[in-house]
Point group: C2
């Protein structure tokens, strides 16, 4: 049966390999059989970027190009711009009344992000509350399945809590609970090996990177600091190059033999890095080439159509929500 | 020069004398010379009433009847319903990113309300954030003057902070700071003498009360507990009846002589209560009579027209705000 799938990305930079294995691959798989909505989450991006609105605006077209480049088909996806759907803001404001501040403060993903980004007390209200807005995004479209990385599971939990509370307070069947679908790889490390791959950490390989960039980034990858001479035995665990090989190198048998060779000694970092570079170039270069054929005008018209279609659905949910709540209708 | 004035009330019950002296009198004065918007704040009412949506909906028509009954003239005021103005929700969501959680937690009025209403940690996010939504209400209409009670001054401060931050971050002149206008009486005690008059405290005299209700409520007013026999000297300070006489009895000279008499002894509570009853009946009964001539249909058409007009203004502000921020336009 056709399900409703919703995903989205903050347009704070181009998409990278972490997005690809974390969510985009699933979207490509899901697009044929389902009604898929893809949201360019510019409003959510502003929750921690009020001083960098220009960056957000600039990346909206870029991110849609990334979608099309990786193989998301325009006819099979409704790609829309969040800031143009007023019903999402209206639903967010209503749902904020159904969630306590202490519940928001307990969200583990938000908690971790706050620890990284803000001195205590300096957290923008919009940032603490963004899981509620995300619930509004999800519930506005009657979503069934949300392809996510594991760090987004607490948002799904929050969404389902709101849906259940709404059913209990007002009416069943208006807002439905959703199922998360984890990516093939839930957490791809950045090339620094320290953090998850992230736009803001300067440790990402982008889906629009040139072959040269890819080579340079792979060469700079963290491996095993004790693997100094080629003949030294090397560690595979915690070695970023092998973490990527696990994800992107298809011949698993060959990979196992490479790992054994590396552990024993005699397989140089550069050799294995060259193999990885080739694998990633083979993956990314067709995306980059496709990307170059897509015009800004085409993206704008696509986004415009998608936004109109999405608006109708979200407006309808808002009407149903207000009706179920018993709100006054003028 | 014509100024823009905005006020509003949560439709959680009928309006009472506290509203009258705290804000309505000022609105009546201001309506001739200014562009006045009056908002039925049903969205704000929901911030602490998600479980009582029916009460809010039921009171929307009642509150508009109260407006007309006290002398607000339909042709001179734009009376509108908050929940039908999506731009307010959208502005609220944007402004939430410009205010820190710790700032919201320091708002003295919200702090006091939280202490009264919630166990710690049980505060709905929408309730803590409502001063930001209130800022959105105010800024959406380019307001100059806000007639308020003194407990609302922190909301005006928050609004002006957002306006200043917006000017600093993006562009001057899009959002302007507002001036509060305090009511003739900033805090009318309830008939219990313990609290400010409030809808939820069962201590209010409503603008739609019958003559009988008014008499009964005045008779039940807290006076001086040591003023037992008529001949006893009585206290005027902290005596609710005299607090009301100060506000509503026009002949100040006569009032002073009554106070002197009461203090000396020989003036009974009932005598003075009867005088107050008469004064309040003279004020309220014409309102009540006018109220009875107003049909629900008339209120609905008035609210509908006002909401359309208000929507245009708020939509325009949202467009200007997004433009100034440099948000993407589709």
């Amino acid at each position: 049966m056709r399900k409703v799938v919703l995903t989205g990305d903050r347009p704070t930079g181009r998409l990278h390999l972490g997005h690809y294995v974390g969510s985009l691959q699933n979207r490509i798989k899901l697009q044929n059989e389902n009604q898929q909505y893809i949201m360019v989450a510019d409003i959510q991006a502003l929750t921690d970027n009020v001083e960098r609105v220009g960056v957000v605006s600039k990346n909206i077209v870029e991110i849609v190009k990334d979608y099309l480049a990786v193989g998301l088909i325009p006819e099979q996806n409704c790609i829309f711009l969040q800031s143009c759907i007023s019903a999402i803001a209206e639903l967010s404001i209503l749902f904020l009344n159904m969630v306590n501040i202490s519940r928001l403060e307990r969200n583990p993903t938000v908690k971790e992000e706050i620890k990284k980004k803000y001195r205590s007390g300096n957290v923008p209200a919009g940032f603490l509350c963004y899981p509620v807005s995300q619930a509004a995004d999800i519930l506005a479209f009657g979503s069934d399945i949300i392809p996510v990385g594991s760090d987004q599971l607490p948002m799904i939990e929050q969404t389902n809590e709101i849906a259940r509370k709404f059913s209990r307070l007002y009416k069943k069947g208006v807002l439905k609970e959703v199922t998360p679908l984890l990516g093939t790889v839930s957490r791809l490390p950045g090339i620094d090996g320290k953090n998850k791959m992230g736009k803001s950490l300067n440790n990402a390989i982008y889906l629009s990177d040139s072959d040269d960039d890819i080579c340079k980034k792979v060469l700079s990858m963290f491996t095993d600091p004790d693997h100094i001479k080629v003949s030294d035995p090397g560690k595979v665990d915690g070695n970023v190059v092998f973490a990527y090989m696990d994800v992107f190198f298809q011949n698993k048998e060959e990979l196992e033999s490479m790992k054994a060779h590396y552990k024993k000694g005699g397989l140089g970092d550069t050799v294995i890095k060259n193999i990885l570079s080739k694998v990633l170039i083979d993956l990314i270069s067709p995306m980059r080439e496709k990307r170059e054929t897509i015009s800004d005008e085409y993206v704008l018209s696509l986004l415009s159509c998608g936004t109109s279609a999405a608006r109708k659905v979200a407006d309808n949910t808002l009407i149903e929500v207000k009706k179920a709540m018993g709100m006054f209708r003028l």
